[in-house]
Symmetry: C2
Subunit: 338 residues, 2 copies
DNA sequence: TCCAAGATTGCACTTGTGTGCAATCTGGAA
DNA sequence: TTCCAGATTGCACACAAGTGCAATCTTGGA
């Protein structure tokens, strides 16, 4: 409040000590739980600290002990599902006294590697990877440095790292059953060119389930995992003969694009002419224009699990922790044959 | 790669120096641009560093010079416009060698204050506030500590801080002109209970413009800034006589909810029965089910401006920097009277 | 009044880095 | 061979914190 200082630099414990007329240790102890300080010096220190606007330097504190920094490596943050993940994680981490550094990167290996090195530079206690797949050697380096590594929905079996993910096979199978029950005869699969392990698994299981039942699946892949790729897929699907009457889109964004093409370009009505199943349960899937039947990723539970792992440092990782996707019945799939 | 160390702790320059058989200074200089090291020691150091997986500790580096940390204080990160801002900012900051700490907070003053203190604890060079309004005294503390403060779209005139924002009055006025040109006779305004200065200004200017032209405006406020508030507003607007035929929604999310209520609950057709103008130009506004006429916030330009401010430390702030919102003509407003 | 136990305090070291300064090394010219 | 300039190196300090240890101060009881 008092304008006695135009310091233009962070005030340190030394400055506070000088002003309070005590030793620097006293200042340190005042801000350390359980340290021995008399009530009087404590008050003097707090007064001086308040007047000067002192805040303990967590960076310096992190030199001796853990830094309490957790890095989040993520690409494509505007995607609703990613934004949701970042949101949950940052909030949960914060409530456990950790702070989040976000590294917004591309999904390719080089960018992720650079990101992971940054993570080490900032002495993060842990790194959570939401996008891309880091090279095994770099993960090893992180582990050797005592850093924990958590991979979310990147199902490569990488030694040492914790691997969380949603059970894609359940969703793929369930999607097929839903469409079969709705009496769909010509199945389609809409996917992206991302080639992520989770997406590939959803594709595979869906197609296998259909084949096992004697049905073919037409695959539409038109670009990245986005609304417009879905839209383009819809154009192609209905711009030819033998168009599908039941599709599984490996992502909600793709599904919404696909639905819009079907409805607005070709005048189809959902679920009468076409049934659609998505995956992710982004907020937009519940909007009145879509009411998409989809699967929800239990983000909160996954974030909680991440925290459990981080707070238990000797947990060695390497096993894969699977979460059940939660089906969200809405209106884009008929309950039975038309 | 070699498994000689189960250190479980970050490797420091001292360890590298020992292994390379040089002084710790040599290691430091190897990783400092322009420092004097012979080619031979440089190689020895790099070899040792590589083998041990050494990474310079940016935290310790930040003890002496600037930390290169920028804090982003944000609430409601899942909102598309916020996710977009965070995305642009993190990317731009990164490309200038800064790292972003995200503090995910509520928008109330207490939470923002706590967030700002964290910012000081981590010795961030700068804080960018996207949500909520911090108390003036705390901003002063930040400035006294030599930290820069940038407020985005929180138009309170707070001394010392940099204030960026989009020109809300232009948008409010323009929205009215669009609706008048479309021949709308019963105007509506859909807003939230957030009470943010930007939202309030958009409301005010829109209503003033209408009044100046002799038109009344029915105001609908049903909750927070969200899709469902917009939907609820739509329910109320059309569940009574004298319902509006042209509305300005202060946010795209509100607009999309409002449109969905009008279309799916009341069978209205847009833009024939109802014209809608939004604000933000989130991705969903361009989706085929909406094609919403709205105003785009020049996020990239704003992020660039933030960077300019941060890279020029003696810029004193306090003036307000306004950005023109960019109109996005789409299909939710008729080009002329019906 | 004196003594001892317990509470406070400050010194000095630690963490990992960058850098000024002085000492040493190198290489080329006389 | 000698000398000097320039390149390289290492010491020691600074940065901002936490903490073990010993010294000091309180306090209470005999």
């Amino acid at each position: 409040m008092s304008s006695d200082s135009k310091t233009r630099s962070f005030v340190s414990a030394r400055i506070v000590a000088e002003r309070a007329g005590v030793s620097r240790s006293a200042v340190s102890r005042t801000f350390t739980d359980g340290a021995s300080v008399s009530e009087e010096t404590r008050r003097k220190v707090l007064d001086a600290a308040g007047a000067l606007g002192y805040h303990v330097n967590h960076l310096a504190r992190g030199l001796r002990e853990r830094s309490n920094i957790v890095c989040l490596v993520v690409a494509d943050m505007t995607t609703p599902i990613r934004a949701g993940m970042v949101d949950v994680l940052t909030r949960e981490l914060q409530s456990s006294g950790k702070i989040t550094m976000v590294i917004n990167t591309k999904a390719d290996t080089d960018s992720v590697s650079t990101a992971l090195r940054q993570t080490l530079n900032y002495r993060a206690d842990a790194t959570v990877v939401l996008s891309g797949t880091p090279p095994a050697s770099l993960i090893e380096t992180c582990l050797a440095n005592g850093q924990q590594v958590v991979l979310i929905n990147r199902d490569d079996k990488l030694v040492g790292s914790h691997n969380l993910g949603v059970d894609n096979s359940v969703a793929g199978r369930e999607a097929f059953f839903l469409l079969r029950r709705a009496g769909c005869r010509r199945l389609g699969l809409v996917t992206s060119n991302a080639g992520t392990a989770s997406l590939v698994e959803r594709e595979r299981v869906f197609i296998e389930a259909a084949n096992a039942d004697g049905m073919e699946v037409a695959v539409f892949e038109t670009g990245p995992t986005s609304y417009s790729s879905g839209f383009e897929a819809g154009r192609r699907a209905f711009g030819r003969s033998n168009s599908p009457d039941g599709v599984f889109c490996v992502t909600d964004l793709l599904a919404l694009g696909f639905m819009d093409a079907a409805v607005h370009e070709f005048g189809l009505s959902i679920p009468d002419d076409l049934c659609v199943v998505g995956f992710d349960d982004i907020e937009q899937a519940s909007w009145e224009s879509y009411r998409l039947t989809t699967f929800s990723q239990p983000l909160k539970a996954m974030a909680d699990q991440v925290l459990d792992l981080l707070l238990d440092p000797q947990s060695a990782g390497s096993e894969r922790i699977l979460f059940e996707p939660i089906p969200r019945w809405r209106k884009s799939v008929r309950p039975g044959p038309r």
